[in-house]
């Protein structure tokens, strides 16, 4: 009887542990992790555009200083 109850207890524990998975940040892993690719592509795009904007500013400044001369 003692063995049976302990076995029963083990069974319950194992079922319980299988059913309740710990909470994780699954959003980034959904759909075969496509969001991660999206993130990388957006970062590269934003980085390049920012670089372009900075270049634009620099060149515009030089152009303005030449026009004022």
């Amino acid at each position: 009887m003692k063995y049976l109850t302990s076995l029963f207890f083990l069974l319950i524990v194992s079922i319980a542990s299988a059913q309740s998975e710990p909470e994780m940040a699954d959003a980034m892993r959904a759909n075969g992790k496509i969001y991660v690719v999206l993130g990388v592509a957006l970062i590269a795009m934003v980085g390049l555009i920012t670089y372009l904007a900075i270049l634009d500013k620099k060149v515009s400044k030089i152009k303005q200083s030449l026009e004022e001369k």
């Binding site: 496509i34 690719v37 999206l38 592509a41 957006l42 795009m45 934003v46 555009i49 372009l52 904007a53 270049l55 634009d56 060149v59 515009s60 030089i62 152009k63 030449l66």
Partner: protein, 223 residues
């Protein structure tokens, strides 16, 4: 800030394109599979190149009409920028072809046509560099540019539609145009085209500013 509103619009459209390009629903098609999304990134390269070459053509006409050297400089910078987008178009197309048509390059009319187009415009740059007198250079380059533009339309717009081509919409293949382009895809494709054209124009504007600085420098040295 206000006069740069179109740059913000371009960045916004591009961000939307990247987001929707990955996440939107696309038709499920054999062989193409998810690569159908390349439509949002490969085709706008060519549209941007075409826009820049058209702008260059406009400035070439303007130069021939006015003999104002500034127009010649603008025509040249537009071609310089357009070539970059053309090269990106060829490289992205090549990668796409590898995984759908099975090879990096085929003898397809549209592929060869676009390659010839790139060579034609590369020749434009070489032609310019081979001459000294800037007004003479400008006139010859402008006339060459008009011919190059016409040939580009023949090579990538007309010939592929008259013979068999692997490209959609050519030689009896179904097009992404009118009937086949899924309505969901249009919602991403058109913003993508506009967004990339704006980015192309932005780069073109910066190149014009650099050209202005360069000529200013040269004038100072010669004075």
């Amino acid at each position: 800030m206000l006069k740069n509103w179109w740059k913000f619009l371009g960045v916004l459209l591009l961000a939307y394109t990247v987001y929707a390009g990955f996440m939107s629903e696309v038709p499920r098609m054999a062989i193409l599979n998810e690569t159908i999304r390349n439509l949002y990134f490969h085709v706008p390269m060519w549209f941007t190149m075409f826009t820049l070459f058209a702008i260059s053509l406009y400035h070439s006409f303007k130069f021939l009409a006015t003999n104002n050297i500034q127009y010649d400089s603008k025509a040249k910078e537009a071609i310089n920028t357009g070539i970059v987008f053309g090269i990106l178009g060829i490289i992205t197309g090549s990668l796409w072809a590898k995984y759908t048509w099975g090879t990096w390059w085929t003898g397809d009319v549209k592929l060869n046509g676009s390659a010839i187009t790139m060579l034609m415009y590369a020749a434009y740059i070489i032609l310019r560099n081979s001459m000294d007198d800037e007004y003479k250079t400008g006139r010859i380059a402008a006339v060459y540019n008009i011919f190059a533009f016409v040939f580009m339309i023949v090579f990538i717009g007309v010939l592929p539609r008259m013979t068999d081509s692997l490209h959609p919409g050519n030689g009896g293949n179904p097009a992404f145009g009118n009937y086949d382009l899924d309505n969901n895809m249009k919602l991403v494709f058109y913003p993508a085209v506009v967004g990339w054209i704006i980015i192309g124009l932005w780069i073109y504007q910066i190149k014009n500013k650099i050209a202005f600085i360069k000529t200013h420098q040269q004038n100072e040295i010669s004075n």
